[in-house]
Structures are given as structure tokens and as C-alpha cells.
Symmetry: C2
Subunit: 250 residues, 2 copies
DNA sequence: CAGTGGTCTAGACCACTGA
DNA sequence: CAGTGGTCTAGACCACTGA
């Protein structure tokens, strides 16, 4: 309804369309959940070809401002939620969210014993083929899937972990209460990746959009690896806060 | 030379092309710096239209595996470098890189006193228009621009900071040695963003590709903000490691 | 069923890089 | 200059969603 393009400008047409739509989202004129004009709407309104309209919308999807669904349309995304995962060192997702008054949740997709792949074995200092417990879960926040988490535990250290009920309970609590074992330290690696088809389906995002990959390795005091976890976070939702102090003891 | 597409498959053609090129990069058949087939090469070799070939190459660029340069071609990217910024709490980039034996460096682009914008004033607990020192730098690693860093310091706390020489020296050292002031703690926020035209130009990446935005706020013991820094990291290079311990005092 | 976005074609003009 | 990627057109067929 309100798109104006200047054909005499040297700014590409799809930039002009993209920037005006972004402005409407930023200003609140278009609110989370609202539908954007469809590709054809933009074509007729701006007198441009469909590929040009598409390019504007696709870029907004890459920025995380909108999500697109075939057969339905293009919708404004929810704003980012902050996950302060550092205030309280080495906690599970459930613990962290509880502390900030968030409704945390998880849906278990898989909880099985399987042979370790080469990559998993290397991380957990096992041999390929050794038994590991794999737990794959959706991480929820306010009922929405925020991330997809896959954890591996050595079956020798945690027998029967595959059979325990972890519906909505912290795995760290379970490990401590049931096995009497708690990690002493952990290293999180944060990097950027893009959604593959499985992640895209599970996180309900478009394939190929940027995501954040957090890899955690947890250890015992004696440096035995306990846990190897890969978490794929929706890029349009991820925000992590790390607090640091100059003197570690304060 | 070695692209095969199956027109009877239900997998989109550009997926097939993209996946084969990715495979060649992953396997080392195409090495960092190597040129990929041009769009026209792919058109003639696979008998597809140019937009299809483009889509495969553009996706690889979004994944960070390749970079594209008009007039030159599409090139395999360098692999990620890891920046372990947690082993040693609250250090500057220069300090961190020194410690892991990396050649760190910085190029100062701007070092000026200017009035604080509303956003900067809010973060530093100043009034909009108050004087701040802005330092904009390229962060280098092995001579390559890895990130673009913009820091703001209250001019009232650090007079003449805009005139001091910080060529290749840690700002934290400078603050401590020259002003006798060191941050007591800091909070880093990590989130995902996309490169705007300025960042793209400075980081020599394509506009619109995903980047990592790290925002740091440093404080004195009495919670006075000292420093507000925004760092844009190339998404295809960023990898951050955060170490955590369950008992903070160990 | 009409409307959505996903894939694809076969062209075009252009700015930029390097020989 | 030939070759590169960037933008753009005007079509096409398709799978999917919801009325």
C-alpha cells in the first residue's frame, strides 16, 4: 500500500523495497505476526517483476525479520529474546530460564542408545562404535521452539540414562541426583552456521537461513568428558550474554 | 568440470550443484583461495539457466564457504580461526590473541571526540550530546581483517584519549597505564546480524551475509560504565569459546 | 479453488576487474 | 577488451495451504 520506488535512483529496486518494508517493521507499523505484501502484491504495486520482489523479501528473511511459508505468505517475526547464560555459571537451559522467570520447556524427540560416530567418539574420548546415549530435544521458550539440542553421554558412565524420564526436568539435575555425577567445568563454542533441511523443519524456519551453533563439552574434575552437546539456535532469536570479571575471584 | 545433475530427481537443480561444490570444498579438492566455476561455466556445463547457477553460488556465499567478487569470480574462503576469549577473563582482543600466540593487530580508522548519540548515551549512562571518544578499528589476524570494532568512552573520564597513540597497543593497557583505571567487570552480548554496506566494505565480505555482533559494556566496581563497544565479526571466521565452571571459585 | 512462495528459463543491460 | 558477478524482465510450472 505504501511502497514507492524511484526508478531514476541508482539504488537497486529491491534495496528500495526491502528498506521500506524493514522500516515499517522497525517502526512498528507492521507488528510481529502481521502479513507482508505478497510477491505479486509488490509486483503490481511497484511495477516490478516477481524475481525483484522476491529478492527484497528473501533478504528480510535472511535478516531474521520475517519468515516465509509457501502457500501462506510472509510474516513479521517475533523480536529476539535474551538468554543470559552466564550470570550463573555452568547451568542447564532449564536452570537458566527458571532463574530469569522464563517458562522453559523441552520436548524429547529421541532418547536412545546408539554406537558413537567418529566425530562423537573423538569428542568424548571414546572409540567409534562405543555405546553412547543420544538425547535430541526441542528447547522451548513461551511454548515456541527456540533451539534443537542433541546431547551425547557415554553409556558406560550413565547406564540406563536412555530409560529415565526427563520430561521437563534438567539433565544436570538428573545426572547429579541419579548418578551422583556433576560436571566440574565445560567449554562452549559459539559459531555461525546455516540451517540444513532437518534443522529448518524442526525449528520452523527457512532452509539456509543463518543459525547459531553452540557446542558444549562438559568434563569431570579429572578431565573425563561427560557430555557432548550441539545446540542449533534460531538466529533470529538467539542472544547470549556472557559476564566477565577481570579478577576471577571477587 | 565435475558437476553432474539429475533432471529426473526431485531435488532442485541448484541444491544438486550447491551440494557438489560444497563437497569439493569440504573434501579439499577445492582449496582456500581457489576459484570456483563461474556462473556461465555452470550454465554451459549443466545446461541450466544463469539464475539457477547463481542461486547455488549465492547459497555457498551465505554459508561462508565462498566469497564472490564482481569482475573477478567466486573463491573458496579460508577456514575459521578459533578465538578463545574466555580462558582469560575480561581481556582485550590484543591480550587474548597474544596469549594464544596469534599475531594480533589493529588499524585505527577513527579516533575522535563527538557528541553521544541517544543509543550510546543510554548505554554509558550519559546524556545525548555529552562528549564521548569514539575509536573505530579494524581487528586483524594474520594480517587479515577479521572484525570491525567501534568503542565509545566517556570523555569526562578519559580526557585526551582521542589524542593518545594506540597503534597496535591494547586499549585496556592504555586505560590502566595512562588513566589508572581498569574495568572491574563486563557483559558481552552475542547475537547474529547481517552485514550492511559499510561493514561489507570494511570486512571485504558481501553485503547481506550473516555476521556476529558482539556488544560489550565494561564497568567500574561502582557500576559506572566505562566503555561501550560494538564489534562486527565476519560470520565465516567467528568462533568463540567460553569456559564455564560449576563452582565459580575453584 | 485462488493465492502463496519455490524453482526455473532465456534473455537483457550494467559496473567492475585485469590483461 | 573479454570475463566476472549484480540487477532485472516476463514469462512458466509446481507444491502447498486454507476456504
Amino acid at each position: 500500500m505504501t511502497l514507492h520506488i524511484d526508478t531514476r535512483s541508482h539504488i537497486p529496486i529491491y534495496y528500495q523495497i526491502r528498506d521500506q518494508l524493514r522500516q515499517q517493521i522497525m517502526s512498528g507499523q507492521l507488528k510481529p505476526g502481521d502479513v507482508l505484501p505478497s510477491e505479486m502484491d509488490i509486483c503490481t504495486e511497484c511495477g516490478v517483476s516477481r524475481m525483484t520482489a522476491r529478492q527484497a523479501l528473501i533478504q528480510l528473511a535472511y535478516e531474521g525479520l520475517v519468515t516465509r511459508h509457501r502457500g501462506k505468505g510472509t510474516f513479521v517475526s517475533e523480536p529476539k529474546a535474551t538468554l543470559d547464560s552466564s550470570q550463573f555459571p555452568l547451568q542447564s537451559y532449564t536452570e537458566v530460564l527458571g532463574q530469569i522467570g522464563m517458562q522453559a520447556g523441552a520436548e524429547v524427540l529421541d532418547q536412545v542408545v546408539e554406537p558413537a560416530s567418529e566425530a562423537v567418539a573423538a569428542q568424548l574420548k571414546l572409540k567409534p562404535g562405543d555405546s553412547v546415549v543420544r538425547i535430541t530435544r526441542h528447547r522451548l521458550m513461551r511454548g515456541e521452539v527456540m533451539s534443537l539440542e542433541t546431547s551425547y553421554y557415554p553409556n558406560s558412565i550413565f547406564p540406563d540414562l536412555a530409560k529415565l524420564n526427563l520430561a521437563n526436568q534438567s539433565v544436570y539435575h538428573l545426572l547429579e541426583n541419579h548418578f551422583g555425577i556433576a560436571p566440574a567445568y565445560a567449554a562452549d563454542t559459539i559459531e555461525l552456521s546455516v540451517a540444513g533441511s532437518f534443522e529448518a523443519k524442526e525449528l520452523k524456519i527457512n532452509e539456509g537461513v543463518p543459525v547459531v551453533l553452540v557446542t558444549r563439552l562438559s568434563y569431570l574434575d579429572d578431565d573425563t568428558p561427560l557430555e557432548y552437546t550441539q545446540t542449533i539456535h534460531r538466529g533470529d532469536r538467539f542472544k547470549s550474554v556472557v559476564r566477565r570479571s577481570r579478577q576471577q575471584l571477587k
